[in-house]
Subunit: 242 residues, 2 copies
């Protein structure tokens, strides 16, 4: 009847970054800065993640680990899935790295995955320490981190459908072409211009600004803005507030 | 540097049930069927949950535990949050119960919470074994289970906004009054009839059926149905499919 169970618990962070051109994901080299490992070890990329401390809440651990490993802070991290297959440490090199890092005998790690989406066109404190890989061209990573990113991306796409996150990646005034580019990059799909405009036309929380693009080679495009108040009114919540 | 960490990992299931009248949540009595505990122990209610086995994926554990403890199966369980505060076992009676059940020394349990929403107007295999408590009148539960239900409910309300789950709780043909009742019960709020109808009028995936209520004391109400194809077309996905 008694069940011998002592998996370790870790957190892993999937940080998506958008830079107007493409959707990227933040990776670190697990061999960098570890003097105990061979200096000649080749790059071995993974998500920023570590075990949770004894006396630490899991959400606190995610914030701590992201800061320690990348320098990033004040980022809204959201849990999206737990990866708890007993086979997660099947690869010999993953298990060796983990035991060398932690000095513990480890058989199993259940990891809680967090994600976030940030704008990359500001200078980030983690520049230089980390690798931003194109989401569609992520190399083979340690553990099941490719799978974690894949699930994180599905989550982000669902969020793009349900929440107005696209507008957080755009300037206050934006063109329909810019908005379409956010959708195309996150969905990894070329969208038909005409259908996109037809679809967008129904979103009456996107309103025209009395201004057009300037100094462009092509025909200047109209600027739009996101009307957050109008958006909120359209949500079911508005049924409650009156 | 080395971190001594061996929390145990459990799963807990928040099963919401809707029965036309109210929203309920499934609880079990942790003292029932445990001969080792005092037979005179008073009822002590909690969510169905147990530790994850050594060789078991966490999602598999959730399905197993729900079936073992309640008889319920073939229910779509979705992870919604991990509760990992180091203080979760602070109450003496919770720790004692857990150690008596598992015969293990336990300091900390990180639990993965799953949820589901089911219709209660069919005879369920778990009848008799479990308690369905009104979500708004849940008594004091073991561990942090009141908090877990609260978070599960927030999650359900977000889902109600983003996904067409209300229609899964209704018959194929339904009146606007019935639809409003689903929203009122899940949101725990009386909605203004006129505003609700105004809001619903914009959802053109709810279409009129050529039929009215029969044999009712009041003025017979119009029946409507949910047009799933139309709904899907309205989602952003439809931008992709043409």
């Amino acid at each position: 009847m008694a069940v011998k169970i002592n998996p370790h618990v870790s957190v892993d962070c999937v940080i998506f970054g958008f830079n107007d051109m493409s959707l990227k994901v933040l990776l670190i080299d697990r061999n960098q800065g570890l003097p105990l490992l061979r200096q000649t070890a080749p790059k071995s990329l993974k998500l920023p993640g570590r075990l949770v401390y004894d006396d630490e809440d899991v959400d606190t651990a995610a914030v701590r680990v992201l800061k320690e490993l990348t320098g990033l802070e004040n980022i809204y991290l959201q849990q999206f899935n737990v990866f708890g297959s007993p086979d997660r440490l099947n690869k010999k090199e993953d298990l060796e790295w983990l035991q060398s890092l932690t000095k513990m005998k480890i058989n199993r790690v259940v990891t809680i995955a967090y994600y976030s989406l940030i704008k990359l066109n500001q200078s980030l404190p983690c520049d230089g320490k980390v690798i931003w890989a194109n989401v569609m061209k992520v190399p083979k990573l340690a553990f099941d981190h490719n799978e974690i990113i894949k699930r994180g991306l599905l989550n982000l796409r669902r969020e793009l459908k349900n929440e107005p996150i696209a507008f957080e990646l755009l300037p206050k005034k934006f063109t329909i072409r810019q908005l379409q580019s956010v959708y195309e990059n996150i969905l990894d799909k070329k969208l038909d211009n005409r259908n996109f405009r037809k679809g967008i036309a129904k979103w009456d929380y996107i309103t025209q600004v009395n201004e057009k693009e300037k100094n462009v080679a092509h025909k200047p495009a109209q600027y739009f803005k996101f009307d957050k108040r109008k958006y909120i009114k359209q949500q079911i919540d508005y049924l409650l507030d009156k």
